[in-house]
């Protein structure tokens, strides 16, 4: 039950994109088409869950015992950067079709603050190992939900007659604001 609550909270109540403002760059950058949005979501889910698992273990069993918590940021980003590289190489070998689908998104993920953000939040909130992984899954779903819905809206927007200065990114932000407003309706359900 506790884990169900973690997921609901991460997906709806404090949605990582619309409420926590993490992963805004891909949210605006790769949301032109629903297809690319789905690809990006897959890649982010994959990396976010594995990265949170690894950083959690390193934080609990290396950094805390040696009192090196102040190296958190630098360790986590290195873990994430090397993980992304490894995932890329392994995918290429093991599953070329999956690599075809996710490959171009992988390098972008190193600088996706959602991944580092979730890893840091997971250790800050004192979850246990399973809790951290569930938290990462919930946030990945939340990211996907926001990104895919948003790209659907943007595909429609392309066909609309938007004032010249508002075309593209500005109108996208205003739509995102309205979506965030809608998500605020979930406040208090957990």
């Amino acid at each position: 039950m506790e884990y169900v609550l973690i997921i609901i909270a991460a997906v709806f109540v404090s949605n990582i994109v619309l409420n926590q403002f993490l992963g805004i760059c891909p949210f605006i950058g790769v949301s032109n088409k629903v297809d690319t949005a789905i690809g990006m979501t897959g890649a982010v889910t994959f990396v976010m869950v594995i990265a949170t698992l690894f950083t959690y273990l390193i934080f609990q069993y290396v950094l805390i015992p040696f009192e090196l918590e102040y190296l958190r940021t630098i360790t986590f980003i290195l873990v994430i950067a090397s993980l992304v590289q490894m995932v890329e190489i392994m995918l290429k070998k093991i599953s070329p079709p999956l690599y075809q689908a996710l490959g171009i998104f992988l390098p972008l993920i190193t600088t996706n603050c959602a991944v580092l953000g979730v890893a840091v939040l997971a250790v800050q909130q004192d979850f246990n190992l399973l809790g951290s992984v569930v938290f990462a899954i919930g946030n990945a779903i939340g990211f996907g939900l926001a990104l895919i819905t948003f790209s659907g809206i943007r595909e429609q927007l392309d066909m609309m007659n938007v004032p010249k200065q508002m075309k593209g990114v500005p109108i996208a932000f205003i739509v995102a604001g309205l979506m965030a407003l809608a998500f605020m309706g979930f406040t208090g359900i957990v």
Binding site: S14, Y70, Q125
Partner: protein, 190 residues
């Protein structure tokens, strides 16, 4: 100057040197800021104690009591004037804030009435839940001088005596819960 070639030795050597210098720099800064960070924490706590109990001249460190409750620790600081206890500041917490945990310092006089309350740390929404901060609104004033035995520490929506912060019932509820917990710890350690 020619660019260095990317062979295995040069790559490993460069990264090692970079990492080593980075580690040395961070270790140095960590040592240099350790004491100021500790002092800053201490100052924040002392200011909170001063704000919530009657005028005092010392908080003897050997009389500070730690009291475990609900999976965390409350800390009780007795404030002395001329060797006589004039009040007790209790560092308390709640995990049910809108954005999770927050910490309060609650001051009690010797009869158990609340003298005043200060917020130590929180992550509540700016503009809404953060009105519980002393300099943002007068929310804390209604608690002053009230005795938890006669004053029902719950928001009016829950048939209590506390007027919640507008649009921040969740934060207000959590605030009441933290104060109630402080009172119970104060009673239990008398």
């Amino acid at each position: 100057m020619a660019k260095k070639e990317s062979n295995f030795v040069s790559m490993v050597a460069t990264l090692s040197v970079v990492a080593l210098v980075a580690a040395a720099l961070l270790g140095g800064v960590y040592e240099a800021t350790k004491e100021p960070i500790r002092l800053a924490d201490l100052r924040k706590r002392n200011e909170a104690i001063e704000a919530v109990v009657p005028a005092f001249d010392t908080v003897p460190s050997d009389q500070i009591v730690k009291y475990g409750m609900d999976g965390d620790t409350l800390i009780l600081y007795p404030a002395l004037k001329n060797g006589i206890v004039v009040g007790t500041a209790v560092e308390t917490f709640t995990n049910n804030g809108f954005s999770g945990e927050f910490k309060l310092m609650v001051g009690f006089d010797n009869e158990g009435a609340i003298v005043d309350i200060a917020v130590l740390s929180h992550k509540e929404t700016p503009g809404l839940g953060d009105k519980m901060e002393r300099d943002k609104s007068d929310f804390h004033v209604q608690f002053m001088g009230q005795h938890p035995d006669e004053f029902n520490l719950a928001v009016t929506k829950d048939k209590g005596d506390v007027d919640a912060i507008t649009a921040s019932t969740i934060s207000s509820r959590a605030y009441c819960e933290a104060v109630q917990r402080a009172y119970e710890a104060w009673k239990a350690t008398r």
